[in-house]
Amino acid sequence: MSPEKAQAYWKENISMIIKLLVIWFVVSYGCGILFINELNNVEISGVKLGFWFAQQGAIYVFVALIFVYVKVMTGIDEKYGVHE
């Protein structure tokens, strides 16, 4: 693999990670901590939204993020021919 190609592969990987970690930050630190009071004004069946994110919702998103990462990276790996 040429150095340029390796660099391009790495760049795509990093930009993917950054995008997903932004979501990771928003659902946990954002919804569950920093803006929990604002979100708590929204209530579904007695459950305040901020509270739900902090105690359940963030975890579901975490799981989804990892599987999205796996799927996207598998595609990028194949695109660059570096899959196993």
Binding site: G46, G50, Q56, F62, Y69, E84
Partner: protein, 631 residues
């Protein structure tokens, strides 16, 4: 069948399964011993990681902590799961591609330095031992509470079982027993949770139970909260009537932020979790496996907040204003006719996990905010096994009758109870009158949680000693840089190290240092401040050199450990906390300082040699992964 026989049956069968797996999975080579031969299916590895990760504390204590903390307990739930996202994207795939056996392997090779390797070994051993001490204690506690044996006997039995499958089977034995332990553990957690959810909210899935309405009216001591109130509304009403903050009301944003971060970084840096990703065949498997691990963890972790809420409501509903004598004699029932049998209160009172002092002399239990007993953490000091006139255990430090202001705060209710948080999971089935086999299952589940984590930690200690210290530092050929230790003797050293580690862990379990909780928090801080940045920089910053890495590790470790020592043992008081950060959350600061120092020092010193830069290029790309190989 009687409860005690059921417990023996469930625990006995589960132990027989673990031993059977150990015999089947005997390790024949160092590769099998350290990384299970590198051929574990990613889903199986995910399950094993979940069991490895979820300790006795997760299983026994976490729901209780959240039950009393309310909204802020989210820090633990998010922190201990969010770390897996970091693992999956920033660590696991690259470490798998690197393809050696241990975390010190990576640190030593990437930073071409035996000093770095040795520091890493010491940190690994310290982190793992502090953690394992708590686990062995957990084993002892579960044994003593459910099997009616002495705590120390319980620890010895636990040591025997772990000895069998970790010394014989190594990582291979541990991996497959952890899969079995996960299954035991998750059923043991979910079954009572589902029962509770049905009972309190008539909803099958506990995760959905918090969205439902209560199936009963109950008197919180101040007013009657009607049937059909939304669960969290009912809880908020009840706790605020009694003078607590609302259950769903968040506290300090800053503290929650720092604690969550420390737990996330610590999770991603814990050696016994990281090594699990060396056991799968490919880089892609390492990524997927982190996802599966989190799925298996999430099944339990998304249930915890519901269990916490259900048990807090149950506590108030069952205990508020009940007459002690009639309660423990089994003479009381709820408004709807279901029995409210206080037998469990007697059982756990014996163990000192719950206590009552009749401050107002009305013969009834009151539950409210203030401490009912004088002394550290409001714990009761019992007068031996003596009982007071109502038949409850006599405590010497019960507070006198409440004054005006305390009564006003609790709308007439002054607290007379001490409740240990562990009771929320352990006694839940009894409190809710669940069938005996559910209680027996909880005993087996608690043991599975403690044993699986203990075994994973012991293996990490053993491989750090035999592989990293003996193989790569002591028996290293100075000229070739290769180890002179042959496969057979390294495997023998690994087994001996495992035996030694089990003995030390057992000793710590029998003679626990009096500060296990703080030390475990410190273990997280160290994992965060020492390992997480070193590994991340090793992969993502090609320019990072040995000078930067060593300086970073030293600063991260010193700051985190120093802060903890000063505030836990050195007489520091919370008022002096740096920016209000508790020692448990200080790993976050340690990590940040580590990153800054490592960056600055590395830019002022020569860049790493070419072969190291090539190594970094190589681990960034998935293809060409070998099986986890020997040197």
């Amino acid at each position: 069948m009687e409860l005690q026989s059921l417990i023996y049956l469930f625990v006995g069968v589960s132990f027989a399964v673990y031993i059977g797996i150990a015999l089947w999975a005997k390790a024949g080579s160092t590769k099998e011993f350290y990384v299970a031969g590198g051929g574990v299916h990613p889903v199986a590895n995910g399950m094993a990681t979940a069991a490895d990760w979820m300790s006795a504390a997760s299983f026994i204590s976490l729901a209780g902590i959240i039950s009393f903390k309310g909204s802020d307990g989210g820090a633990y739930l998010m922190g201990w799961t969010g770390g897996y996202v970091l693992l999956a994207m920033l660590l696991a795939p690259y470490l798998r591609k690197f393809g050696k056996f241990t975390v010190p392997d990576f640190v030593g090779d990437r930073y071409y330095s035996d000093v770095a390797r040795t520091v890493a070994v010491v940190a690994v051993i310290f982190v793992s031992f502090t953690y394992v001490a708590g686990q062995m204690r957990g084993v002892g506690i579960v044994f003593s509470r459910f099997l009616q044996v002495d705590v120390n006997t319980g620890v010895l039995i636990g040591m025997g079982i772990v000895f069998f499958y970790s010394v014989l089977g190594g990582m291979k034995g541990i991996t497959y027993t952890q899969v079995a332990q996960y299954v035991v553990m998750i059923f043991a957690y979910m079954i009572p949770a589902i029962f509770l959810s049905l009972q309190v909210t008539d909803t099958f899935l506990p995760q959905m139970g918090i969205f439902a309405q209560t199936t009963f009216a109950f008197n919180d001591g101040v007013r009657i909260i009607p049937e059909g109130t939304y669960l969290l509304h009912a809880l908020d009403m009840a706790v605020s009537d009694l003078g607590f903050n609302d259950y769903t009301q968040p506290g300090s944003t800053w503290n929650t932020f720092m604690l969550t971060t420390a737990l996330m970084l610590g999770t991603a840096g814990l050696p016994h979790v990281i090594v699990r990703f060396f056991t799968v065949p490919t880089v892609k498997d390492a990524r997927v496996s982190a996802g599966w691990a989190l799925v298996f963890i999430a099944i339990m972790y998304t249930t915890i907040s519901s269990v916490a809420a259900f048990s807090r409501i149950n506590l108030i509903k069952n205990l508020q204003n009940v007459e002690y004598k009639a309660f423990v004699a089994g003479e009381l029932s709820h408004a709807d006719g279901t029995p409210n049998n206080g037998n469990w209160f007697k059982t756990w009172e014996k163990g000192g996990l719950i206590a009552w002092t009749d401050r107002n002399g009305d013969g009834k239990i009151q539950y409210g905010t203030a401490k009912a007993f004088d002394g550290a953490k409001g714990k009761p000091k019992f007068d031996g096994t003596k009982t007071a006139e109502d038949g409850h255990r006599l405590a010497l430090n019960g507070k006198p009758a409440a004054g005006e202001s305390e009564l006003a705060k609790g709308n007439g209710i002054a607290n007379e109870l001490y409740v240990d948080r562990d009771i929320m999971v352990l006694a839940n089935p009894e409190i809710a009158n669940l069938p005996n086999w559910v209680i027996a299952f909880i005993a087996a589940g608690g043991l599975a949680a403690a044993l699986s984590t203990a075994a994973g930690l012991l293996l990490v200690i053993a491989s750090s000693i035999s592989h990293d210290l003996m193989g790569q530092v002591i028996y290293k050929d100075k000229e070739t840089g290769k180890t002179t230790l042959n496969e057979k003797s390294e495997l023998m050293y690994a087994r001996l190290a495992a035996v030694a580690a089990i003995c030390v862990a057992g000793y710590l379990g029998i003679n626990p240092p009096g500060f296990v909780a703080q030390v475990v928090a410190l273990a997280f801080g160290i994992a965060a401040a020492a390992f997480f940045p070193t590994i991340i920089l090793g992969v993502f910053d090609k320019r990072m050199n040995k000078e930067g890495a060593i300086a970073g590790i030293i600063v991260g470790l010193t700051v985190t450990v120093g802060y903890a020592i000063y505030f836990i043992w050195g007489g520091g008081v919370p008022a002096d906390y740096f920016m209000g950060i508790a020692p448990a959350s200080f790993g976050t600061i340690g990590t940040i300082l580590h990153l800054i120092v490592a960056f600055v020092v590395s830019r002022m010193t020569p860049e790493p040699p070419q072969h190291i830069q090539d190594l970094v290029e190589n681990i960034r790309i998935p293809s060409g992964v070998g099986e986890a190989h020997d040197h």
